[in-house]
Each structure stands twice: as C-alpha cells, then as structure tokens.
Symmetry: C2
Subunit: 205 residues, 2 copies
C-alpha cells in the first residue's frame, strides 16, 4: 500500500500488528478515528495506556485485577479450598457467568506450547504447586481447553502435585445442552457415554 501520509502509514502499521487485523481493516479503523471527534481517539489511547501501565495481576490467583487481591480471592464467602485452574481471564469470566462455582481460580496465563515457545516456566505453575504444597487446597479442578496443549499442561501439573495427595478433577466433556446427538463428534459422544451420570443427579441440575 502506498500512503499519501507517513503519519497515516505508521498508525495503520501499528494497528495491523494486532492479531487478526490486516492492513485493509487497520486502514478502515484508522480512517474511522479520523472522522470522529479528537476526544474519541484520546479516550481510546488513554484507556489502553492506563490499562497497560496500571493494571495488576491478583497476587493469589494471577487474574487481571485493579487491586493487589482480586474481588474473587478477597470474597470471604468463596471456598478457598477448591481451586479451578484456567488459562486466562476469559475462562474466569465464562465460568463466573454460570454462577455454578463458589471456589477460587488459579490463572496460568496460557498453556504449555513448545511450538509457541511457552514452557512451564513462562506460566504460573510454580505458584500453583506452592499452594498445593502448603496444604491450602483440598480439590484442584482442571478447566483448560481440551486441546493437545491443554492436556499437556494438565498432565504436567498433575505429575508435579501427585505426591501431595490433593484431590483432582477435570470439568466434564460431553454433548452440549440443546445439541443433537447425531451432529456430535465421536470423541465427545464417546466420552459422554463413558462418563455418564446417574439420572436422578442430572435432574437436579
């Protein structure tokens, strides 16, 4: 692309570095900002700048937070002995939305992925093992995505904490509520048969 303005080119290139945003989309977004009042651009840049410099991670669960201890970890009504291991804040938000979990979280900040160069030392695994070692946790729930990276991470953590005798579980895999059986993939359907639950129990949900 040949730009008539160096400033425009710079801005487009920076926006196009965001994941999933190509040069054309970046140009569209930047031109939109140019058509809007200057305050809109200020709000956008300020909010990003303040976030990037001032946001904290909760020192207990490593979730994104404005305070040293996040609202969930700080809530005395939550059961601190049950900890759900998740990849990032989006998973926390998704689980919180269900209102079905009253324990705490432990945010790893990603999954072990040799291809992307992410090893256990890049994630908050050490601090999780520390918690288990200190007998703070009764049950650990693995809630990572069911991918190769997710399974690898689960297994790596499991191997490290096995000896401390903490109870572990993973979230159930099965047919989505409202889904037709015939369209489910074999692995999911297979797992949902193997891990079937008593009918009376399902009625209570």
């Amino acid at each position: 692309m040949d730009f008539s303005s160096k400033l425009l080119e710079n801005a487009v290139n920076e926006v196009a570095r965001l994941p999933g945003i190509g040069k054309r989309t970046a140009l569209r977004l930047v031109l939109h900002l140019l058509k809007q009042p200057v305050e809109n651009t200020n709000y956008l840049t300020e909010s990003l700048k303040v976030l990037r410099t001032e946001v904290k991670t909760c020192e207990k669960c490593h979730n994104i937070s404005d305070t040293l201890l996040c609202e969930i970890c700080n809530n005395p009504k939550r059961d601190a002995s049950v900890v759900c291991v998740v990849e990032d804040i989006r998973d926390v938000m998704a689980i919180e939305n269900t209102s079905q979990f009253r324990g705490l979280y432990h945010v790893l900040g990603g999954k072990i992925s040799p291809i992307e160069g992410i090893g256990p030392q890049n994630l908050e695994i050490e601090s999780l093992i520390e918690k288990v070692k200190n007998n703070e946790i009764k049950e650990l729930i693995f809630a990572l995505s069911s991918t190769m990276e997710g399974d690898t991470t689960n297994f790596y953590i499991f191997k490290q904490i096995e000896k401390f005798g903490v109870a572990t579980s993973t979230i159930a895999r099965g047919i989505s509520v409202g889904d037709e059986l015939e369209y489910a993939d074999e692995v999911t359907l297979g797992r949902s048969i193997v891990n079937r639950i008593p009918f009376e129990q399902s009625m209570k949900l």
Copy 2:
C-alpha cells in the same frame, strides 16, 4: 460481560466502539496488548494520537496528507486540468496503484446519504464547484462507487456544475478483466454492451 478490572473494562469498551469490532474481539485484542511488552502499546497509542492531532488534509484536493499541499497536487508532472472526484483516500490509493491516471484528485470525504445524515454541506462539494467556477478544470471524472448514494452525489454535483460547461465523465462500468461472462450480474453486463468500445482501442490497453 463482567470484568474483574475496571481498567480492562474501559479499554475493552473503547476498542469495541471501533466499527466491526465486538466486545469479544476487543477483549482478545486488549489481552494481546497486555501480553506484549509495554512499548508495543506505547507505539500504538502514540501513532494514533500523533496521527489524529497532526495529520492535515491537502488544501487543494482534501486528501489526507502530512503537508499543506499533498504530494500529488504538488507534483508538476501531473495534469491539473483533469480532476477525478473520489470518496476517500482509499479510492485515491486504489487508482494510484493502477498507474493509469496522471491528473489530480478531489476527495469529497464521503457520499451524500440522508439515512446517515450526510448532506452536501458535510462534504467537500462547495470547494469543487469553486474550482470549476474558476475555470481551473477541463475535465471532471466521477469515480464514486456505483451505489444509490454514489449516483445521488454524482448527480447533485453534475447539476451544480452543468452551467459552467466543464467536460464530465464517469469511470467505465463493465465486466472485470478475467471474469466469466455467465457469472456477471445483468446490470453490469448490460452496461458493458451499451458502452462497448472499438476493438482497436481495447487492444492498446
């Protein structure tokens, strides 16, 4: 969405105000910035801020430019008597890419669109008529998109300049180069038959 951080929520809301970016995409983009070094966010916000406050529009063609007169208007090799009327900078870039046009541009900054509340007074139409009135232009080429808004804008401008006797033309509509006839829409195919050109002329292109 329930955010654990007010700063994160603000940033996501601001990013989600961009066209075509929903809350989920905004969250993905913002979390990406949080994982990157702080300089990346600084580059992004600085480039947007500098662009928004310092970018100029060429005082002749109203294209986005870093200088008072853009490179194209400033180029003595370009034919100032032929002016191509376009909607915005993206059209200038597209036509420049073809290397087929040696005249100047006039960037309207949009199309007349009553639905979006854009009238002739919101566009650079007055300055175009002024140019025609001052006998600066020999030929005016309308190169707006072939939509109702584009046609309305063309017609509005044409009605205003008719009396000055300037030559006007519109870019040719027809089958794209490399396209199969059978898949072309009727209107386009119809126009390409009505506006056929001598064969010898087509061989020169």
